[in-house]
Chain length 488, copies 4
């Protein structure tokens, strides 16, 4: 059951971006669901609201469990895990967009479908930009949707495919789907992974003993002791059975446009993306920031926890001492059930406290990952000044976020993004800080390993949230009235 | 209800010390219980198993709620907080020792007693070293104990006191009690705070608007926006009513022996103790360590999160770059309900992962707060070496922990403490690291602001866990066969 | 969530027949779902495992709630009922067959489907005898089933119908369905009721104020204060809107074959079926039994509660005193969660106790509704003899149950039915009673108001469980190997 | 946890009397707690709100479990019963008075106390009429009460007794206690049973194999297959060990004054009291009523279920046919959690429905067990007339209830009792029935086996609720202003 009257602290606070999903699949080990549970625990930062696992066992068939709450509170229990036997399993963690009418367990992936040639389960990270049109078409033809999730389209498209085997039906289905998708799926004998042609969302292949796994990030390979093999390539489909991994490239090849925000914020710092350490990229962002936007100051502080690597880089490059000026309460979560008025009004003070003794009288550089609505930044600035700081300088580890993401990240509407309506100077004044500097788009690309910066004619990443250049047209949103940059 | 078959990950892992309690009291504000809940949330690190709040309202009398789990999961709910009306409330968070026969809600404080002159509630941080003798005596006289908690003695002693008012009865009771105690209590009109004669456990006074509060640490004043007034003095009792604060010193004055481990580990880094920032003390421990035990290396890494400030100090003083070599999973908790075998065996990998890209090929200095049994240290060393580190050097921000604490900290039996049976060199070999150094006792005192180091004839702190010098004789334990240092 | 490890006492005991469902629908009143909840409470005897309600409100759309457990424990709560606003609602209670792999909330009706012309919800009492063939066909065409319930076929058939409005689609769908069905359905503006061409399962129309309701039995009209209007006719469809009731007869007219076991056992004694009181029919069965199978005895006792009316009739007709020789524990339910071994072995003693003082030394006539496997009858006989009865004579208010029902009643496999393998005399010996007599089929028909008894060429009722004459061929079962009487 | 916002249907309806408790104890069998659970299930009618069991095992010590809800929903679970090992156990079911500030699990018996010579648990059926005075005295002396239950006095009195063994301490304690009590208690080796000097509440001794049990009623012996040995005598204490049963009579012997209402309503019809079948007494009440208050009519109907035996007797004696004119919904319970307004207003229709076809046009005799406030009787009369009855005659199986009970039965205040303010004729007019007759006090005594009727100089039973003659002075109530009959 969904929690009664939950209150999403971040949602109201409205000032962070959220990855919407993480996926993990495993084949070829005893009790694969246990591995999936551990993998999902390591991917929990990609989706904290709910999780689901489907497993297959030749005697017991397909079994599934879907639960609200953290993986560690549900999928670590003997009694639940015993209901998920078999050597093949896939799982999903999800974040749910605030303001939806109420989370429902039936919206939690993986989705399962029984076809004439057997069952299949599917879990998806990303977003389908033509989902509403597809849904209308499928309903018109007589499909019954059981969830409000756009990902359910894939399973219905598969059900209606004329192909004779499930991987071929999945190809059929995904050809109709636009947007970003990293899919993990399973039949009774196969673990399947697919990445969209642009490779917007991550998906990696790992190996542990005789088993294989697919994961959104490498940090989930580490927890199960798996060896990192390689990334699934943009447009690639892998079908893994007991005999090994078969690879095909069914989707039209295009230049890769991996999401650069995965480097800035979404992925865990101990993950490796494109052969590059996320931690190192973030530290390097701090170094670039210190070069692009130096300032005379006494202390460099991260806004915990996401600003920490960039703050370390900034401090190192600038020579200004690094310190923990803001302390994070480790017992915070994102949602509250039926909270009191006082809790609703607490805002950021519920999770962050200023280290007053350290801050007092100092000129402080605060390093944060991004500015979305700016509400949190304002409150932090106030807390820092209340504690007696002499000056407050914000350094932001990403360019101004001026455009919403339609590829699987929960962003506010464009009007609510501070950078959509204000220049950097206006934002500085609005926030009331002594200085505010964002890293440049080129600086960010350099920190991510592109020594020449951004190739504007053919960008190496998807950076639509900064540039407004959408590599896949967001069809549903345009139908609803969203204006592209060119149209402004 | 207590969780069914909980599995305490830390307990089995057996390698951390735990503060057993935090207390908070509030008077003179509307809905005092809401303030207490926020205070307890900020003190959650002092006790994560359970929490309780008692409030008093002239019309609705005394009300109480006691719950297993985090404060934020229970005491933020409108529906529960409405049952705790009134301008006067106290609360308690507690940690429960592993291996006890099973946590019971009736053991959760505050305890309440109805006396002929009215009711009183009491919450206690510390440990009563003669509790078993007192309990036997009270049962002999006809008292019925409702819990297995030693703190319940206080309320029974109060019930049997001949004094006519409750503060006087509390004085009477506490005179019979030996050990460490910071007590927060309430009657229908008074908020009462008491600290034992040695002041082993912390207790501070704060003010917000017309209201007053008592708290284990100052970080809980910050969250409710209260101003820090002063510490309650060792041996002092304060009785707070609408008219203000009355102070008496009913207990024999002695030299203060505040727990030095509060500085090292228990208290939050953003708290102020004895006028001194906990963060600054910890950072300074790192500085002292770098002076006492320098090493040539490429990277200083904290064991998160408690080793972080000392690692920052070590890096700064040594000039070796600081980096996040170990990443902590933010979604870990301490206990699991009916966990699978695999979860039971995961150990530290469930909460920590090595940042392999950063570590590879480097000579790494790992800074941790303490070594208890050494099991975690061994596992971390292995993870670091597996990730390809060239050398691993441990630097520990406290002296060797060779003696158990009997004043409110959960420590293993003496035989299980690594430092009780091994020298520093033996421990280094046992852990299999390239070097292992603990800060000296004098170095620790210097870092805590005692520029001359430890005054051995009259130590400024309780450091029994390092020195074996117990400022209060642990009577119950001696009766059970514990040997003091002098007796060895 | 389904209860963990439930233990179905009746299922193991294996000695009762169970109606599988009850349906109720309401239109034209404020908060229709409240009326539906009351109606379902009155129909709880038709399905005790789970219940569901769907409502529609112009502003809030369709809402649904499905819960395991009794109606009174779920659908009486303010907090739940507030989530089901609107003037139009339908509901369902269900019994689940023992031995199924585990009840799932997704199998609980009503089922909901979104079509291109709007949503519809449907609830069904009965059983579809060609469901498996339909399911295979629908999956082949690309439908995704969300439940293991055969009733879900109807909604998928509707989704694929070419008709333009929902009642027409329902007609289309039900034409493909074989078996017994009394359906209650709703769109945004219409309440729809349908009965199969034979009218095997009951469905009645009621009126309360400006509102209309459809119900499995009249006892549910009484609880909401509704007036009984009429039965829905076999093969009739009614579409009720604000403007009134429209009736059509889309299904091929045939002779009605109402289930005679509804009179014997399933329906509540205070319901009216076919213009006839169920209580009166049952009392009359007792009268017929006394005439057909008289015996010299001291006491007539019902096996509570279902044998009571027939026992009253038997006592009255025979002149033997009536008494409560067996007392029923009012606090029994059907299922236990993770029961102890002792509970598993208690059998009938957990719910029935002999009134020893009354029974001792007496010749007792026990009147029961039916004999299924005979296990309960044996145990009751033993309890009665243990209590000192001089003689035990069983009189059964139905003919021998020798054939399974495929029209919505949960019956054991044919081999497990005592009467399938034994003659009346063999059963008497098997049960170890002094005499055993069943009412004759003709006697039963007479008691049900057919003064001439059964019309063997064209029976007035469905009595397949007694006669083996199935009015609709059970296609799925025949495919699975079930042998019809003619084939034996 | 107590259910949130429960709504006690009976309490608001206000029209029934409730026994407040049932007790059961067992010694000398493996897993005694399982037997106790079964016994309590059979005694559930004596207390439906909550239940508790304490057991003792030499290795595992005393264990207890206390739960809200039915015995069958809690104490049948393997997982719970495993926590209650040992060959010795006692248990309690309780009803809680409506209007109390909220049921608390700490008020649920058995109560447990640790004394210097070991622990003891105690469960109590009855009421202590000087509990408030005792409580004040005990608090004055320094006892801390953990519950609001008056029964807790007993355990505190025992704790303060100077005696050296527990049975002697219990004697000491019970000598200070006034009122009605049937106590079941246990130490580590003894099962103890005590009945007050008047024997107001029942308590019987049974034997099963090598084990012994104590129970409120004999129906609980039947369920565990125990043999009925004898009643505990008024003023007797039995101490049962492995060696057998020792009996003493520590309390001043007086004439027995057993509660006559146990015969009329509280006890189960299949129990034996004073060597007499409760069912037979009730049937005989019907016979007496038919003689005392004959009427010309067509049908005798019980108000189910408690009026059934008397209705059978009335019908038999009068020759008027017996029938089920009112049908009871078997799925009703006493309390609802947060019910909707509609449920709150449903009243008796939620649990009773009229069998309209049977009632129509008939002159009906309704036999009920008692009239308390008269609200239910009025509603039933209306339902019967709405269904078309020609006449309604009430026959009541007890004399007018004009006085509250202070010996363990929950009765409304005197002013709320219909018979306290009206004569029989006034009540008849108030209820609007064609005739209303109560059985006479003498008739009731005759039905209970006293062929000469009531001995007014020395009544054989406690009939204070009818006569106002209280065999034990209700001290606490008199202090609160209650006026005895003599004082009116």
């Amino acid at each position: 059951m969904p929690p009664a009257h939950p209150f999403d602290f971040d949602a109201v606070d409205g000032d962070t971006l959220h990855e919407e999903c993480g996926v993990f699949g495993m084949i070829g080990v005893t009790d694969a669901a246990n591995f999936v549970a551990l993998g999902l625990h390591a991917l929990q930062h990609r989706g904290q609201e709910a999780g689901g696992i489907v497993s297959y066992h030749p005697e017991h068939g397909f079994n599934s469990a879907r639960r609200f709450g953290y993986v560690r509170d549900n999928f670590t229990k003997q009694s639940l895990m015993e209901t998920l036997p078999g050597a093949l399993a896939i799982g999903h963690v999800r974040y749910s967009t605030a303001g939806s009418k109420g989370a429902q367990i039936r919206d939690v992936q993986p989705f399962f479908g029984e076809f004439s040639m057997g069952g299949a389960a599917i879990a998806h990270n990303g977003n389908i930009t033509n989902a509403e049109a597809l849904r209308r078409e499928l309903i018109e033809r007589g499909s019954i949707f059981q969830s409000s999730s756009d990902s359910e389209c894939i399973i219905h498209l598969m059900a209606r495919s004329l192909q004779r085997d499930i991987p071929a039906r999945m190809e059929d289905a995904l050809r109709r789907v636009e947007g970003a998708f990293s899919v993990v799926a399973m039949t009774r004998t196969k673990l399947i992974g697919v990445r969209d042609a642009l490779g917007v969302r991550p998906l990696v292949l790992g190996k542990v003993g005789d088993g294989w796994c697919l994961s959104s990030e490498t940090c989930a390979l580490d927890i199960i002791g798996a060896e990192y093999v390689r990334e699934i390539e943009p447009g690639e489909m892998v079908v893994i059975t007991e005999k090994g991994v078969e690879s095909t490239h069914p989707f039209r090849s295009r230049n890769s446009r991996f999401c650069i925000f995965e480097h800035v914020y979404f992925s865990r710092p101990d993950s490796i993306i494109g052969g590059r350490s996320v931690y190192e990229t973030r530290r390097q962002i701090g170094v670039e920031l210190a070069r692009e936007a130096p300032i005379e100051a006494d202390l460099v502080c991260p806004v915990p926890d996401s600003g920490t690597p960039a703050a370390i880089g900034y401090a190192h490059e600038s020579g200004i001492p690094y310190g923990m000026g803001i302390i994070r309460n480790q017992y915070m979560g994102r949602t509250f059930i039926e909270p009191t008025e006082q809790i609703r009004n607490m805002g950021v003070r519920l999770k962050l406290n200023v280290n007053r003794a350290l801050i007092r009288g100092k000129r402080v550089v605060l390093v944060d990952d991004s500015v979305v609505r700016g509400t949190t930044s304002r409150k932090i600035k106030e807390m820092i000044l209340d504690a007696g700081a002499a000056e407050v300088h914000f350094r932001i580890a990403s360019p101004p976020t001026a455009w919403p993401c339609f590829y699987g990240v929960d962003t506010p509407q464009r009007e609510k993004l501070l950078a959509a309506t204000m220049s950097e100077d206006e934002m500085c004044e609005h926030l009331g800080v002594d200085s505010l500097k964002f890293i440049s788009l080129d600086g960010l690309y350099r920190a991510a390993g592109e020594s020449e910066g951004r190739n504007n004619s053919c960008p190496q990443y998807c950076d639509a949230c900064f540039s407004g250049e959408y590599p896949v047209e967001p069809a549903d949103m345009i139908e609803k009235g969203f204006k592209l940059k060119a149209a402004e």
